[in-house]
Symmetry: C2
Subunit: 259 residues, 2 copies
Amino acid sequence: MNKPLILVTNDDGVMAPGIRHLVKYMIELGEVVVVAPDKPQSGMGHAVTITNPLRLEKITVDGDHDEYSCSGTPVDCVKLGVKVVLKRKPDLLVSGINHGANSSINVIYSGTMSAAIEGAMEGIPSIGFSLLDYRFDADFTQSERFIKAIALNTLKYGLPKGICLNVNIPAVKHDMIKGVKICRQARGNWDESFDHRNDPRGKDYYWLAGRFDLHENSNETDEWALADNYISVVPTQFDLTAHDLIPEITKWTFDVEQR
Amino acid sequence: MNKPLILVTNDDGVMAPGIRHLVKYMIELGEVVVVAPDKPQSGMGHAVTITNPLRLEKITVDGDHDEYSCSGTPVDCVKLGVKVVLKRKPDLLVSGINHGANSSINVIYSGTMSAAIEGAMEGIPSIGFSLLDYRFDADFTQSERFIKAIALNTLKYGLPKGICLNVNIPAVKHDMIKGVKICRQARGNWDESFDHRNDPRGKDYYWLAGRFDLHENSNETDEWALADNYISVVPTQFDLTAHDLIPEITKWTFDVEQR
């Protein structure tokens, strides 16, 4: 039997420690091809490059598998990987391991998860992995066993078209990790502020700051699982329709004279 | 009674004809403040600027309402508008009018819609408007009556927290528009290819190309409504959880030894 073909990407850039660990783990499970951004692309969401050309550079990092550095966003990397680099559709796409959490609503801002969602849109079983530690030298080794197990399950059972997994990993030692919880994204939002500063020429600038506010205490959520030292796995899709609201809004009339 | 406070943004840039028309229509409905990107930001999805400072410049375009040009993404514009520019929470956020469609899965790539989704995340009734005409000199006047009616309904009835509206407008004369259909986002995807070219120095580059493939023929979708010359209104939310799949994946075991 052929080894499964695994496309690896991320949003912290191809040289980030998180993706280097993920590559190492995936090489044990299949044939790995890496297509990842040439620079950090955190917070890029589902951005795609349409008005500029993209560069793709073959690089050698740590092994003899194929690796490419791409000038675009994580979503660009997936599109180029699937349409230009790979000769056949990959059996699995993994994105990460992100330096920092992508739980709750952060999924929508996340380049890591947008790459996985793009994979799902292409019908590829896809997983985004994130570790709850923003540091460059975060310890990505503690969850190795779980990362492989989640990837193996996904290879074995597949995922329905359009669904990917959002996996977040608590930043604790491996013997503290209680297991894996399948859950939903928690309701919360960012209570944001902007630092208002002056540059050396006296001109104003603003820098985004803020604090995450969790709005619920349900034990069905990723935030709850992570706080209890579980790895959270949220099945994730891209239909943004608020189906429940269609009947309600259908009652509106669209006549300007109503004022 | 105070006039409603309306925050206007877009992704084509503050000087694009689409937003200039939207500003003109909204001035008839309330007190308008504009915070929009200083350059085109199409395809930026839900990107947010976290590793760079943001600039905000007060500009004067066509009237005595407040306008700001922002160096960031559409989502940055909403965050800065709400947290820095406005003294109180706006009663309505409108984004657009986009030059080009944001129906079906395009909602996830769209800067226009990400601004509206960000508004919804902040609890602001929000609407993204898009015209199915990519041209700079598209005719944005034909749907004026409907744009105002949808905005007025939203001001009157509000929207549940976390829900915004994705409004797409067929590019036809006003007397051809049959009305407004409340619908869901159609299933489809981009059948993409990359043009592989060489730059003047002989170096490879790739440019995204492609064709949209509609995967269904249901009369409940935005694509169906638009093809029939209706304005499509999709209530849109940001919970990406695939709730139906949670029980299924909960059956997986996470033991590496299963191989």
